[in-house]
Assembly symmetry: C3
């Protein structure tokens, strides 16, 4: 598709773009590419920072640029068509969607799927081969359940939700509309509830519920546990990456993002718009305020204030952590100096 | 069920409870609930600590309380029926079991299960849809194998063990009686054995065995590897949470608990009653003594004494870690002070 | 098999071994065993170090020893047959292969497998029960696909590659020859791409490709994501352990090893022969040079030089980390001393 058509489809005609001055530079764009691999005929983007220099080198035929006149001029000089925006990454995300739609099978109930006669299926659902749907399950409209998924009794699944292959949804789970559950995910498995006794561990049955509200995504092989009582709840539009553990009874707010291998122990309360970077962990019952951020590998043991940015094990304010971490390697030298000063007394 | 019936069924008639003084306060209890969400008609519990204040606020109709007269009086005054015990959480766990039993399908061999003709099945087994049982597998009595589980050749599974949906048991594995293997678990996969050579990695075949003794539980998507030689062994009643990695040749003792995302490298020896908190890791060949505890995110590289409580990367005694961690953020200030003192010399 | 036959089959006749001086000591060897569990009739090995003392105690009938005359003499005196080599572990790995071959099913297309009519299958493939192969998939010769695997449309799988039970290969993935994909692995799942906007997270479609070159192994329940644009690529002979996360757009070189629970965020570039130990993590866009090593739990935020050995969070040179970590527990004492010195001024 022509560059001008992309600009049109993205509704960016009135934004700064190279077509205003240079209507003839309207390359045919066949796809989207990362800036350091972009070939002739592709559209890429630059957000600024260390990739800005790529404007001078890339083979891309069109670029989404930040509101930076120098970069725009540079692109024009190199014969690259461009759109300028305050949100290059967002515009690029929209551009990708012009070239690619993820594969979605047409509605079908595969004959090898085993569906309990009292399960309720909505309209236009896809249920792939070897899926198992147990008694009392309710599945909304336009739901897509890929092969080899297993759904335990009584589960509810909202409209347009996608369950990828080989995931498992346990009893007492309710998944909202427009969710994406990736391959290998386990929702509603029994929480880790064992009470120590003189005779060993006594198992606490996990009789609670697991609720995913609308628009939640859960990455491959992540696990979200069912609690002993009450609910484990992931609120609207929260996005969870791969291999994440959400313990029993956690309450996660809206619009959070949890990167891969994050772990929440039991009963953690996470506010709205919280970001936990990769491999961060949160201890039992801790509360994390709205908008807080934990950097990669942070270990949170106590409550975190709204808006705080924390790092380290245990977590401290990120800025403090950066300064302390910058000194850490000097510990042996500091220790020697200190001993020397003491001797000189 | 009436509160008095619960007291009776839990065999707590002779313990302190509100019925002695107040026989008429015998509410109908319809379920169990966490203390901060308990509605009218539910039973909840308080262990003390920060939740003690909830006695004054909860809508629960009955409570399991610690041996604390103040809390008991407070409950009585608010018209809440109560039982007092030295182990509120344990009694609550038993109470949950009065209201809830996890779903367990009736014995059946689903017609879509593929079972090798020479596999041996015990009595009253459930084998769900699309399960695959390869040659030479031996399955005990009352075993429950949920849909889409795959069992490689020669595996043995003990009586009453439950395998949840989508888990995989590899050859040379032996699982005891009364185990629970949660969804997505992989038991007996090939250990990570590669010998470095000038020509690259040389694969060491994993010819050993993976043994889970009776009463072991393994959480969703955890992995327990098969060793090159000898055994990987998880001893009686050890409980393992989700996304845990047990490397090839590890020997884990009895009654241990490993929280989510714990990782044991190869050949680790763990004693009895060891507790490893979330995201803790143990390096190759390390030994952990009986009753030791590692807090969340601890990195163990060397042997740990029996009964020790350790924290940090690398692990040091927990008390020492707490003190050092409390000073860590002062490193920049200490560094400045030190430079100043040197200058003043 | 006789010890002499093992020596012969391993092509070690001309190496130092006990048969030269002691032809009659040629025990029948029935299997291989770890040194601390080796019974009569087994072959084991010793690399030196802390296991060297086992020569004096083991019940093994034959040993693979390092080039250490003391150990050899000791073995001879105890009537143990031995081979000496500069690479005991490698020779032991080869010896295991004389006694054990992993189970590999004979070629067969199981009648319950659902294979799209336009999928292309090579010769002598095994496709197990309940496997699903979607449209346009190309499968090479001698490929072995265990039960309940799901392959999305258009995937390519090279010759002799093994896919273990319950793994999932998503669209836009290409797996080379001689790969092993262990149970529960997810290849090519959607990368975690969400752009923050005032209205919440905007999903960036993941339109790129996931490529595993020849000889790659991926451990149980690991996940390798598909990027928005470009490729995620794992190069030849790289070995990945269990529960590892490789984010979208990562480029991993040849002959690397990543231990269990390692996590790479997005766009990480890893050179050749890099070793990442257990639970190490690498932040977005970081570059790791050829031959670098990160020890367990290391957190890498910035680029790492070729050949560097790093530890800590954030990563610093390993030797520096060891020294600083050895002082860490003295922080409270240092802080007190410092305050005292200041007071004495």
């Amino acid at each position: 598709m022509k560059f001008s058509e992309i600009v049109h489809k993205l509704d960016l005609v009135s934004e700064f773009n190279s077509l205003t001055d240079n209507k003839d530079c309207d390359p045919e764009i066949s796809g989207v590419a990362p800036i350091d691999e972009a070939a002739n005929g592709t559209l890429s983007y630059i957000e600024g920072g260390k990739f800005a220099a790529m404007v001078g080198k890339t083979d891309a035929s069109a670029l989404i640029l930040p509101l930076d006149q120098t970069l725009q001029t540079q692109a024009t000089e190199r014969g690259i068509a461009w759109i300028a925006t305050s949100e290059p990454r967002l515009v690029f995300a929209k551009a990708i969607a012009l070239f690619y739609k993820p594969w979605q099978p047409a509605p079908e109930i595969h004959p090898t799927a085993i569906i309990h006669p009292d399960a309720q299926l909505g309209e236009n659902v896809y249920i792939g081969a070897h899926v198992v749907v147990q008694a009392g399950v309710k599945i909304g409209n336009h739901v897509c359940i890929h092969p080899n998924v297993v759904i335990y009794p009584g589960v509810e699944i909202g409209d347009r939700t996608i369950l990828h292959a080989n995931c498992t949804i346990h009893e007492r789970s309710k998944i909202g509309a427009d969710c994406v559950i990736h391959s290998g995910v386990v929702i509603g498995g029994e929480g880790f509830g064992f009470v120590p006794t003189a005779a060993g561990w006594f198992k606490m049955e996990q009789s609670g519920y697991t609720v995913l509200e609308d628009g939640v995504e859960v990455g491959c092989n992540s696990t979200i546990d069912r609690p002993a009582v009450g609910e484990t709840r992931i609120s609207r539009n929260t996005k969870i990456d791969n291999l994440v553990q959400i313990g029993h009874g956690c309450q996660v707010g809206e619009n959070c993002a949890m990167a891969a291998q994050v772990g929440l122990a039991g009963g953690v309360k996470v506010g709205n718009r919280v970001i936990l970077a990769g491999q961060a962990g949160v201890a039992n019952q801790a509360k994390i305020g709205d908008g807080a951020i934990a950097t990669a590998k942070t270990g949170i043991h106590n409550d975190i204030e709204p808006g705080a940015i924390v790092s380290g094990i245990p977590a401290i304010p990120h800025k403090v952590f950066l300064k302390a971490a910058a000194i850490y390697h000097r510990l042996p030298e500091m220790y020697q100096t200190l001993k020397q000063l003491q001797r000189q007394k």
